[in-house]
Amino acid sequence: MDRIPILRMGNFLLVTIQVDMHDQLALTLQDDLTSAISKNGSRGVLIDISSLEIVDSFIGRMLANISAMARILDAQTVLVGMQPAVAITLVELGMSMPGVKTALNVEAGMELLRELVKAHHLETGDDDDSQI
């Protein structure tokens, strides 16, 4: 069965969605990602959706859910590279994804992720400042 690969880069996990998401694929990703976060103790997740051209409300909700789940597991999530058409679709569907952090591209996303993780650790008094 198809799976979306999850790459580990130090403290962060990198997910690049390069195929059209169908519902089962999204559910599998949710399973895989949550177990990968808890297994590796990851601090941040970067999801690149620049190749994603079609979304529906289910996929939109899945992306928001994944972000919320990661937060519970003490990892920050950044969604990067959303296409204009996808953004318009999600807004028209009434999904503004208030809790999700976004960035224009992978580079900006990584920078934001590092900042978020740093700020989070300062807040919680965790002095583990290892970088990728």
Binding site: L79, V80, M82, I88, L90, V100, T102, L104, A108
Partner: protein, 304 residues
């Protein structure tokens, strides 16, 4: 060949001169068209009518023998619409043929009231149909013009400008409807991707009124930009519009708003880690400045 066609053919030149007099007596726009052009148009049209009437039925104007007349009339009508004639002036061009034609019919058929009546009826029907055709062509030309202008306005009215590296602005001018907002949203989002901009400024100084629908459209655009990872700043909200927004109960608390485009640009520069500083003239004269002229106003503070 019907009586009407016969009369048309025999009296073509008389009819033309009567028609010309009739037109000159009725509405005449010398400022828009000279007499020579009018004479040419009228004589060409009359010849085409005569020819068509000779070859076919004078009341069935949709048939193929009337095609030249239809084409001529459409051309004339379209050119008049473009030159700025009013609809009634354009229609009068055709309707003024009625009287000369009826006069001719009366003098030729005075002995036979039965035939006179039926021919007058035919002529009346023919000219009415020609008149309708003229008006239709006139309206069509005007509608095409309006459609073209609307399209041009849509394209003109949504320029996305790059203000700085990573900062774009879209100055909105005129009323926003859902059609325009769609274009605004699409062009803004695609420019954000193309220029890799972190901050987008939406300036609504030129928007005369903001109602709930417009506000909703703006919020949608801002949310879409946020989903893509860019931040939006709304600027140029005039006092009256600020009042309207609060009275309507529109919630803009999630949106960064600034009074002017300048304030918005300052904030955008700050957000992208840049700041504007005054040039120290004394130091510049002493030749102590080593930076290039290009960035003399803006010093980039990395890692702000």
């Amino acid at each position: 060949m019907s009586k009407l066609a016969d009369i048309l053919q025999k009296n073509e030149s008389d009819l033309l001169s009567d028609w010309m007099n009739e037109q000159l007596a009725a509405v005449r726009r010398r400022d828009l068209m000279n007499d020579v052009d009018l004479q040419t148009q009228s004589s060409e049209l009359l010849r085409a009518i005569t020819q068509a009437a000779k070859n076919g039925n004078v009341t069935e104007l949709s048939r193929s023998e009337w095609t030249p007349v239809r084409d001529r009339l459409t051309d004339i009508s379209a050119s008049r619409a473009k030159h700025g004639f009013s609809p009634s002036e354009t229609a009068t061009f055709v309707f003024s043929l009625k009287q000369p034609l009826f006069k001719r019919l009366r003098s030729d058929l005075s002995k036979d009231p039965e035939a006179l009546f039926s021919e007058i009826w035919n002529a009346n029907a023919m000219i009415d149909k020609l008149g309708l055709m003229t008006t239709e062509a006139y309206m069509k030309t005007k509608e095409q013009l309006i459609a073209k202008q609307a399209e041009e306005m849509l394209e003109l009215s949504t320029p996305v400008v790059k203000l700085w590296q990573g900062i774009v602005a879209i100055p909105l001018i005129g009323t926003l409807d859902s059609n325009r907002t769609q274009v605004v949203m699409e062009s803004l989002l695609s420019t954000i991707v193309a220029t890799n901009s972190k901050v987008a400024i939406i300036d609504i100084t030129g928007v005369p009124a903001v109602d709930t629908l417009v506000a909703q459209h703006l919020l949608k655009t801002i949310t879409a930009a946020k989903l893509m990872g860019a931040e939006c700043i709304l600027s140029g909200i005039r006092p009256q519009i600020a009042q309207t927004i609060v009275h309507l109960g529109i919630n803009l608390t999630e949106v960064i708003t600034k009074a002017s485009l300048a304030d918005a640009l300052a904030l955008a520069l700050q957000k992208t880690g840049k700041t504007v500083v005054r040039v120290d003239r004394a130091n510049q004269k002493a030749g102590e400045r080593k930076e290039g002229l290009d960035d003399k106003d803006v010093a980039e503070k990395k890692g702000a």
